[in-house]
């Protein structure tokens, strides 16, 4: 018999099984929809967590203040040295004039300070470099490097007035800790939730196939090959996954739209709807692939139990 004819028959029986066992299909789809919701929820949660942590990380920096008589060349030297460090993500320069302008802007309502500043003949503020590390735990290494430069006696090193890391060390350490713990907890919670929902979906499909165990026995006796028995159940399982995936992908649209504003108030920059719209191809792939793979694999394993040949 041609393979194509077999595939056609298996697909037809799979579809027929899906439609005729309407109630069982409905139950399986409901549970799989919940499972896929959990998976999509974990994706959104993971992304929100990441965005929030990145945002927090970006709030941390190390500032290098230069003495007022430092030349541009000396500052550029230090900037180049910093940029060559593997831990450094970015270095931005603030000139003396910019620092003064910023200071004035910040204290524009404080007449006393502005008057005191005006009485000075010269700009009292030095230029500075704002250094961002790739990870918060790397600030200490960068600060150490700067201290070594400062005490090494080179011209560039001696132009450094002070480095503000040590004043902020406790806060940075604490933040590093919070970020690490949150990431670890997030991963553990995701794995547990993901596994639990996968198991529930798997058991639902097993139960659905349990109702057909006698039928599988009859197919065995009539002389049907393993794949001819298994195939239609797997097609039905794939249809469960496909329909559930479709439901989840459609429902995520209004849900993310609805939760975006309250979530943003709570988390800051993360926008759930923008994430859904922007990462739709990835979400589509993950949800559909999980649903279809889960349906097919669960059916495969469940039928295997009742196949005697």
């Amino acid at each position: 018999m041609s393979l194509w004819l077999n595939i056609k028959r298996v697909a037809r029986y799979g579809l027929i099984g899906f439609i005729r066992n309407g109630f069982v299909s409905l139950a399986a789809i409901s549970i799989m929809t919940l499972t896929l919701f959990v998976i999509s929820g974990l994706m959104i949660f993971g992304s929100a967590l990441n965005a929030t942590l990145v945002q927090l990380t970006q709030k941390v920096d190390v500032k290098v203040y230069f003495t007022t008589n430092s030349t541009d060349a000396e500052i550029t030297d230090v900037q180049k040295m910093l940029e060559s460090l593997p831990e450094v993500a970015s270095v931005s320069f603030m000139s003396r004039d910019d620092a003064l302008a910023q200071f004035r802007e910040r204290h524009k309502n404080d007449q006393l300070t502005i008057q005191a500043l005006d009485e000075l003949k010269d700009n009292p503020l030095g230029a500075s470099l704002e250094v961002r590390a790739k990870q918060t735990s790397q600030y200490e290494a960068i600060a150490k490097f700067l201290s070594t430069q400062q005490s090494s006696g080179t011209i560039a090193g001696s132009s450094i007035d002070k480095v503000n890391f040590y004043q902020n060390k406790t806060a940075i350490d604490r933040l590093t800790n919070i970020i690490d713990t949150t990431r670890r907890l997030g991963t553990i919670v995701s794995i547990i939730m993901g596994l639990a929902s996968l198991l529930i979906a798997f058991n639902t499909i097993r139960l659905a196939i349990y109702t057909s165990r006698d039928e599988i026995g009859v197919m065995n006796i009539v002389g049907a090959s393993r794949w001819y028995v298994r195939g239609p159940f797997m097609i039905t399982g794939i249809l469960y996954g496909f329909v559930s995936g479709l439901i989840v992908l459609i429902l995520l649209y209004p849900i993310t739209l609805y939760i975006s504003a309250p979530l943003q108030r709570f988390l800051g920059t993360f926008n759930a709807f923008a994430y859904y719209a922007g990462s739709f191809p990835i979400i589509f792939f993950v949800i559909m692939a999980s649903g279809i793979a889960l349906g097919a694999l669960s059916s495969y394993l469940a039928v295997r139990r009742y196949l005697h040949t």
């Binding site: 018999m1 004819l5 057909s212 009859v218 197919m219 002389g223 001819y228 005697h308 040949t309």
Partner: protein, 226 residues
């Protein structure tokens, strides 16, 4: 054609279902296997299509030991043995047409053959008008006739019937036995396990009597003697 050679089956609990049975059946025979419940009739029949594997001894079908068959050979052999059971064992979510077509499909028949064979075999058992019904919409007698149609549609060499009339009233019982006799007249070997005295006595064919797993009588033209 069929040969049981010193076959014993001991189930996990230590119960001897079949003990040291040697039995030969020739092509075209009609053989009753009789005995009380628990005598080992079903176990003996199930060994023929390898649903039960003997603890010791060998079962031969067409001179080949069933135990030595590969998986694909076993499936091929099963397609050459029709089976009927007391509880009908139809596929409940498939129509009568699909139930019979399924047996033809697994035997590798094309769609055109199936379209021709299914109505024909349903006509033989008198159910041509029920083709698109589901099994649960039919009476017990009708369901058993569908099971017979499914069992014979591939024109098997052997038809195994395990208490096929156990759930049927006398009229349906008579109909089923008549169909089985007709099939046997066309050359199919029929093995029928039963404890229905009247059908054994009315047909007057070979009777193999079992008791507590042992073969105690084998009469060429026998009666129900338990």
């Amino acid at each position: 054609m069929i040969h049981y050679d010193k076959v014993t089956k001991v189930y996990n609990g230590g119960q001897h279902a079949v003990e040291d049975i040697t039995l030969s059946i020739e092509p075209g025979e009609f053989v009753f296997i009789v005995g009380h419940s628990g005598a080992g009739k079903t176990t003996l029949l199930k060994m023929l299509f390898a649903e039960v594997i003997p603890t010791s001894g060998l079962v031969y079908f067409n001179s080949r030991s069933i135990n030595d068959l590969s998986n694909s050979e076993l499936l091929k052999m099963r397609r050459n043995i029709g089976t009927i059971f007391q509880d009908f064992r139809l596929l409940p979510t498939k129509t009568i047409y699909e139930n019979i077509a399924f047996a033809l499909e697994v035997a590798g028949k094309g769609d055109d053959d199936i379209k021709a064979d299914v109505p024909h075999v349903l006509e033989l058992v008198g159910l041509a008008d029920k083709m698109w019904s589901f099994p649960l919409e039919l009476s017990g007698g009708e369901q058993q006739r569908v099971a017979i149609a499914r069992a014979i549609v591939n024109q098997p060499a052997v038809l195994i019937a395990d208490e096929p009339t156990g759930n049927l009233d006398p009229i349906n019982t008579h109909d089923v036995v008549e169909i089985l006799k007709k099939i046997n007249n066309l050359g199919t070997t029929v093995l029928l396990a039963t404890h229905n005295r009247s059908i054994v006595d009315s047909v007057g064919k070979r009777v193999v009597t079992m008791d507590q797993g042992r073969l105690i009588r084998d009469d060429r033209e026998g009666k129900y003697t338990l």
